[in-house]
Amino acid sequence: MSTAVSQIDEVKTTPWAGGRSPFSVEYGKIMMWFFLLSDAFTFSSLLIAYGALRFSAATWPAADLIFQSVPGTSIQHGAPLVFVGIMTFILIASSVTMVLGVEAGHRGERKEVALWMVLTIIGGFMFLGCQALEWTHLHEEGFWWGSIPKELGEYFHKGDAASAVSTHQFANLFFTITGFHGFHVFSGVVINIIILINVLAGTYDRRGSYLMVEKVGLYWHFVDLVWVFVFTFFYLV
């Protein structure tokens, strides 16, 4: 009997030939990616709506005039964007500790993973604390959903007419978008804590893989990614 296999019977071994994932990634990780993609759509819709309202307004309050203080200190004026700068660096730093935790997970170093995750969680709490301070400060100045300070002149660049409509839109969008982002940070911290408990309990050692740390890492980096855009479009542009 001939052992030659006709071309049509030959088993194909290309990535899309079936029998295994063409993505070569575990199911949960693919789902995390697709969830993050859908979340990216949500955040983009919010930010693009912000952009459209801003483009259609004759004048818009200036971020470097609104964010002048460092809440929690005596600096009440003359320090534009300093506080948000601190927040940005905190979030980048916590993203770095997270990726270091994922790297330690690849080597199966339980204690090292736990250390980096603790630092990531501290970073998350620091960011949330900063945001709470900033919200409180703005609230004291009179900004909130649907409410703005009486005197608007100081929030507009010289030569721009102060517009109550624009300021209202700015306030609503600011609290909605940073609030939605802060909610994501908060969820991330909670999920990080759950994963940290599992790391400490040795769950992933028994499982033989720290893939869960990688998945929660993806979410955490996404939160950082969104902040990069929020930071640019709310505070810089």
Binding site: I30, I92, L236
Partner: protein
């Protein structure tokens, strides 16, 4: 049976070695530097009229996209995944670009509506 024998050639081995500690700190340095540049532009160059606000805005956007690339490609590891996964995530971003084009165009008409 064949799927098991081909698994060895899947490229799983180089998956994990791709993000060394050195590379992580390198990317962290790049992200910090880009953010620092953004602050120099926002707090020094624009207030001192060295560059105009309308030239600063494209700079911010390019720097932001650069940061986004480094976070997604290296921290989220997407650069080292299969091409199929990279395209599954990267191509749908075209929808976002589409919405930007549609709504910025639309917003120019809203100016007239506002009167």
């Amino acid at each position: 049976m064949s799927s098991e024998t081909t698994h060895a050639h899947d490229g799983h081995a180089d998956d994990h070695a791709s993000m060394s500690k050195k590379k992580i700190w390198q990317v962290a340095g790049i992200l910090t530097m880009i953010t620092a540049i953004e602050f120099i532009v926002a707090l020094y160059l624009v207030p001192h009229d060295i560059i105009a606000l309308h030239t600063a805005n494209p700079i911010y956007i390019v720097l932001t996209l650069a940061k986004a690339f480094y976070i997604v490609a290296y921290f989220m590891h997407l650069k080292f995944e299969r091409v199929a996964l990279i395209y599954s995530i990267a191509v749908p971003v075209l929808f976002i670009i589409g919405l930007i084009l549609v709504l910025t165009n639309e917003s120019h008409h809203w100016i007239d509506l506002r009167g």
